[in-house]
């Protein structure tokens, strides 16, 4: 089985790095919200010994500009498109999902239910998924946070609410201080912690959810090599997304694909569940452009 490789939302801009995006089995957009957002004040990036913090805060042009300007240009790359959707209330999620439902170039909608860099929605993740489900026929992936005592419980709940798959995991809240001043390094104070340090946490979440639900899982968190991809697949992921590694190595998708192709290692038990749009024989791909 060919293991699909995606980018993690917010970790690649297909328009500034089209040759990188073209290497992926699907391109996942940065999270889109109903209205344009400027995001959080800088500094937005800090490093720790084994990972990084970000406090971007969902900077994005809003759904109008996204649909009119961004989406048609991404669609030219002829890579399956997953659009990440965010918001601050169930109505935000349903508004954006409804708009995307009319866009044939959108293959999958990923619901970002877990951004640590913005105020959370008052509704539970289940209600947010249900709100999205009510307005779209697109495959829906629910992206969950590792910052929960029992992630399998959330997984079961969003599956019951109509999610077609899970994206695991988002960043977890972290803080670093400036060495000189001992003030938070980031303008916003806390940020989302990603990279190698997150890997054991991500593996534990995917492992727990794969046992709890039947829908496919896109695993992510600190992946930097084919070995890490195979680890996620061994615990139940059907596809793997690359995040922080793209910042230091934009060619990681191609490098890791080559490592996977050359790998003679047993991949564990590759998951039976297939993630959406990598099965053209069963789900005919809609590739008509949105332009």
């Amino acid at each position: 089985m060919r293991i699909p490789l995606l980018n993690a939302s917010g970790c690649l801009d297909a328009l500034t790095a089209p040759t990188v995006a073209s290497q992926l089995d699907a391109f996942v957009t940065k999270t889109v919200t109903p209205l344009p957002r400027e995001g959080n004040p800088p500094p937005r990036i800090a490093e720790s010994d084994a990972g990084m913090l970000n406090s971007i805060g969902l900077q994005n042009p809003g759904i109008d500009a996204f649909v009119h300007d961004t989406l048609p240009r991404i669609a030219e790359l002829a890579v399956p498109i997953w659009v990440s959707v965010g918001g601050f209330a169930a109505s935000d999620y349903s508004e954006v999902c409804e708009r995307l439902d009319d866009e044939p170039s959108v293959d999958v909608v990923e619901l970002n239910l877990s951004c640590p860099n913005v105020e959370e929605a008052a509704e539970s993740v289940t209600e947010l998924v249900a709100a999205a489900r009510a307005v779209t026929t697109k495959p829906l992936y629910a992206k969950l946070s590792p910052a929960t005592w029992d992630v399998a419980e959330s997984a079961r709940a969003v599956e019951a609410a109509g999610a077609d798959g899970l994206s695991l995991v988002n960043t977890i809240r972290g803080l670093t201080l400036d060495a000189g001043t001992r003030r938070p390094s980031l303008g916003r104070g806390v940020g989302g912690y990603s990279g190698p340090a997150l890997r054991p946490i991500a593996l534990a979440c995917v492992h727990a959810c794969a046992e709890a639900v039947a829908v496919p899982i896109v695993g992510m968190g600190g992946v930097t090599s084919a070995d890490h991809v195979l680890d996620l697949v061994a615990v139940g992921a059907s596809g793997v997304a690359l995040g922080t590694i793209l910042f230091s190595d934009p060619w990681a998708p191609r490098r890791i694909r080559a490592e996977l192709d050359g790998s003679t290692t047993a991949t564990g038990v590759p998951s039976e569940r297939r993630i959406h749009d990598f099965v053209p024989e069963t789900t005919p791909r809609r590739r008509s452009s949105a332009k």
């Binding site: 970790c11 801009d13 500034t16 790095a17 800088p42 990036i45 720790s48 990972g51 910042f247 934009p250």
Partner: protein
């Protein structure tokens, strides 16, 4: 795959593992000489992302000199990433991505280079491209000022004197790089100046939205809209 091209808004950057040719101490700074590989040196003011061994993220560094077959960077050890880079030795090799971003616009009438501290890094390569125009350099201490040897004809001041004290009333086409307060002061004195700014960067090619600066009331990515900006409003 020794060398890969990344299209960035139509321009090309490459990533390659480059051997360290030398690492020379100048005052508190280190002049790191790498082989050039198949990388282009780019336009002065553009930068490269240098792998900092042992650190999760690479570090943005302006190209300082472009000797034949080489790429030279001037580094100030201020934290874990730059300390890691300053401890590189011949025999080591690091991944380098670039050139990235927008360099200086070289189509200028009467260029005047202004640099402060490690901000003089891009000026030697810039001076070469512009035929050694006049340059004003400011430093924190005499020890820091040793690095002025990279621009032998420059005028040099050491704190408490500031480089802006040397700016003539009509400074012409100023091209400046240095700490933020210096750039702000230059901007007030020389409207239309080309200023090379800094921000923490994770990717350097527009992927992360980490490096934003406010330009005209909106957050723009410094790595692709800069680092050289003309007269930031």
């Amino acid at each position: 795959m020794p060398c890969d091209t990344v299209s960035l808004g139509g321009r090309e950057a490459r990533r390659e593992r480059l051997d360290v040719l030398g690492a020379e101490q100048i005052g508190p700074y280190t002049l790191l000489r790498l082989e050039r590989g198949e990388l282009e040196p780019g336009v002065p003011g553009q930068f490269f992302m240098l792998e900092a061994p042992g650190r999760p993220l690479p570090r943005p560094m302006s190209l300082c000199q472009a000797p034949p077959g080489g790429l030279t960077f001037l580094l100030e050890p201020v934290g874990p990433g730059t300390r890691s880079l300053c401890s590189l030795r011949p025999g080591d090799a690091i991944h380098v991505l670039g050139p990235l971003g927008n360099g200086f616009d070289l189509d200028v009438q009467s260029p005047l280079l202004v640099g402060g501290g490690v901000g003089i890094a891009p000026l030697p390569y810039l001076a070469e491209a512009l035929g050694d125009p006049p340059a004003l350099l400011g430093f924190r201490s005499d020890r820091h000022a040793e690095v002025a040897c990279l621009l032998p004809d420059a005028e040099v001041v050491v704190e408490p004197r500031l480089v802006t004290d040397l700016l003539p009333d009509d400074p012409g086409d100023v091209l400046a790089c240095g700490p933020e307060p210096m750039l702000e002061a230059v901007r007030r004195r020389a409207s239309g100046a080309q200023l090379a700014w800094e921000a923490p960067m994770a990717c350097g090619y527009g992927a992360c939205y980490g490096c934003v600066v406010e330009v005209g009331g909106r957050y723009r990515r410094l790595c692709i809209d800069g680092p050289v900006l003309r007269d930031v409003a």
